[in-house]
């Protein structure tokens, strides 16, 4: 019995560690890119697992793109109008599964791929894309590491990771009076968040701020108390959280519990999502967040119009909900592929790849233009602040909806 219990314990531990390792295999039909006047795109997304929330937002963005483009007659490719058909698979938030699913798409002849949510899954997918000669429009993989491997077939519509913290530091530098002097970083330990933090530390040092702390916590942690306890005696003016939603909420919540009171909190990724203000309530007030897109972003395109038009279309399609940047970047990735196919006049992956590389278009998401490693460095990131329970754009000031409040935190 003893051995049975022990063996059971081992199995339990394995099961817990592995979670649901098997990805769902939906029936994808088949066919080539242009079968029956259709432009088939493959999307491996995190529909379950730890990134299910963000995966769902990404899916909504893709879905909106498909509906709007098809509603306007489809993508004109080489004299024919092709309807978009996006096929989804669930990568269960696991990078290796994301890679396998991209392979499966390739086996079915689907060469044009829309990116998964998150840097880790995107990095895994990008390697497979390169090997198979597919092409990927990356919607949500911002880590600079993905683009330092010499890949030529992955194109990210979003601003790179090094901009996430740097944009907020620039905003604080531009707008805060009196200017803060000390800054501390709390970072998740995944590749993307670490890249953000490293770039943020460099930016802060360049701006003459003293970096008094750089603490790392496990990715997805809901307890960041040890990092905060270590930072507290240094009493920083600014705390930057390079995080996702769970850690982002924990930083603000536990800082309050532990009496850590910087003049302002600034966090990547988390604050623009409604869950952030909802779960924190009044404590969310004044927190800064970096965002890829707001409904005040400059630029427009023929499919979605301006950022404001996009927000209206989204609200109409999803029961009045407000579009988040995760939605917008997904739609922008889909738009980039559609524009590239149109310009290439073909759905041949090599031609679409070349058209993407040469793309230089304005859109509701801002400029879509890629450098020679496939990053969109033309587009600027924005900064929002939670004011009255809602994220409001505050920087850059020419597309701001309100003035930045500083100090931000209502202690």
């Amino acid at each position: 019995m003893r051995t049975r219990t022990l063996a059971g314990a081992v199995v339990a531990a394995l099961v817990l560690a592995g979670g649901s390792a098997c990805g769902s295999k939906g029936d994808a039909g088949g066919g080539s890119d242009t079968g029956n006047g259709k432009l088939i795109l493959g999307a491996s997304l995190s529909l379950t697992g730890s990134l299910a929330k963000e995966g769902a937002l990404t899916k909504e963005g893709y879905q909106l793109c498909q509906d709007v483009v098809n509603g306007k007659g489809g993508v004109p490719v080489g004299g024919k109008k092709l309807n978009l058909e996006i096929q989804y698979q669930d990568d269960t938030s696991k990078p290796d599964t994301a890679g396998q699913l991209v392979d499966q798409f390739n086996d079915k002849g689907i060469k044009l791929i829309l990116g998964p949510y998150g840097s880790a899954t995107t990095e895994a997918a990008a390697a497979v894309i390169e090997r198979n000669g597919q092409v990927m429009a990356d919607a949500a993989g911002a880590d600079d590491k993905i683009f330092q491997k010499g890949y030529r077939r992955t194109f990210a519509v979003l601003s790179p990771a090094n901009q996430y913290a740097a944009s907020m530091i620039q905003a604080i530098y531009d707008l805060a009076q009196p200017r803060p002097t000390t800054i501390a970083f709390v970072s998740a330990d995944d590749g993307f968040s670490k890249t953000v933090t490293k770039a943020g530390v460099k930016k802060a040092t360049d701006m003459g701020l003293t970096v008094v702390g750089e603490e790392y916590v496990p990715n997805g942690a809901t307890d960041v108390s040890s990092a905060l306890t270590k930072i507290k005696p240094k009493n920083p003016d600014v705390i930057i959280g390079s995080v996702h939603l769970a850690e982002g909420v924990a930083i603000v919540k536990q800082a309050k519990e532990l009496g850590v009171v910087p003049k302002i909190f600034a966090e990547t990724v988390a604050p623009p999502t409604p869950d952030f203000a909802q779960s924190l309530g009044a404590a969310a007030e004044g927190v800064l967040g970096s965002t890829q897109w707001t409904d005040k972003t400059a630029g427009s395109d023929k499919w979605f119009g301006s950022a404001k038009d996009y927000a209206a279309t989204f609200a109409k399609m999803f029961n009045g909900r407000e579009a988040e940047y995760h939605n917008a970047e997904a739609t922008a990735a889909c738009l980039a592929l559609a524009l590239a196919a149109e310009k290439a006049g073909s759905t041949d992956p090599n031609k679409v790849r070349d058209a993407l590389a040469a793309l230089d278009e304005q859109s509701f998401f801002g400029p879509l233009k890629f450098n020679d490693v496939g990053q969109n460095v033309t587009k600027k990131m924005g900064v929002i602040q939670i004011q009255g329970g809602k994220p409001v754009p505050v920087w850059p000031t020419d597309s701001a909806g309100a003035q930045m409040k500083y100090p931000g935190a209502a202690a």
Partner: protein, 295 residues
């Protein structure tokens, strides 16, 4: 020094929360030899019930503990009676498989009903803290959750040692065959135990939901911490889970202070390995429960 003291106090509070989450898990494992992988999902169900009650009628999450526990008791009882009892004599792999499947069903069900949004039950007071001398902050919400953990553990202990039903549970856990010969209905006792554990999970969920965030994806994390706390503390003792939780919480807090923050889990699991090497039955556990034979 005050930094270390603060970390220790916070670790103890965090440990109580681990204990609160784990106490039901440990009970089921100890009595029935079932490692309930759906335990984390039960905790989340409690959290969602308290959340919905808070949204609908503004019920305080710590009062929401009661309805969440009551509803989860009923659900737990029925699950055991109608499902787990069917395979309770089978090798442990079968019950593992069953509860794992149940976990998948429940988590994906919650994903459909409640979406993957992160939630937290808002209160006016939970994030406030009492400041002790030496700048040590004791957050109110966590303090209440810790008090609940201690109260439930003491209550459970009293229940199994001092009431007829409790002793029936204990007796069935020790020797099912002998308990049956004394006229105890094992089926009913097992269902009662599982219901009790689910109720404790539900109560834990309501309390945890107000001090931290949760989404359906957290089920695995809750089960994992329950597992570690139960193994650390040892089976066959109602105080085991709380003790294991406290050790886990304090080790994590100390590890977080002395080592880079990303190693907190390595420290906690390292402690698990060391303690199990020295005391295989866990800190407060009785070796008997790991070696019993059931008929």
């Amino acid at each position: 020094m005050s930094q270390f003291l603060q970390a220790t106090v916070y670790g103890l509070l965090q440990g109580c929360i681990f204990g609160l989450v784990a106490v039901g898990f440990s009970l089921v494992w100890g009595v029935m030899n079932v490692v309930n992988l759906a335990h984390g999902a039960f905790v989340l169900m409690g959290a969602y019930m308290a959340f919905e009650l808070n949204q609908a009628v503004g019920l305080d999450p710590f009062l929401g503990v009661l309805p969440a526990a009551a509803a989860m008791f009923a659900i737990g009882y029925l699950i055991q009676r109608g499902l787990v009892n069917l395979v309770v004599n089978a090798p442990i792999f079968i019950t593992l498989l069953l509860t794992f499947g149940l976990e998948l069903l429940l988590v994906n069900g919650m994903l459909i009903v409640f979406t993957a949004d992160y939630r937290s039950i808002p209160t006016d007071y939970a994030a406030h803290s009492i400041t002790l001398p030496g700048e040590v902050h004791v957050p109110v919400g966590r303090l209440i959750a810790a008090a609940l953990a201690v109260a439930l553990t003491v209550g459970l202990s009293w229940f199994v040692r001092r009431t007829r039903t409790g002793m029936a549970i204990l007796a069935t856990g020790m020797d099912r065959g002998a308990a049956r010969l004394m006229g105890i209905s094992a089926r009913h006792v097992y269902a009662l135990t599982f219901g009790l554990a689910a109720a404790l999970a539900g109560a834990a969920g309501a309390a945890v939901g107000s001090v931290t965030t949760f989404s359906p994806a957290d089920a695995g994390r809750f089960t994992l911490f329950s597992f570690v706390a139960a193994v650390l503390g040892g089976l066959g003792n109602t105080y085991g889970a709380l003790l294991g939780g406290l050790v886990l919480g304090v080790f994590q807090a100390w590890g977080g202070q002395l080592l880079p923050g990303t190693l907190v889990n390595a420290v906690a699991f390292g402690a698990l390995v060391v303690i199990l090497a020295v005391r295989p039955q866990g800190l407060a556990g009785r070796a008997f429960y790991a070696s019993r034979v059931e008929v």
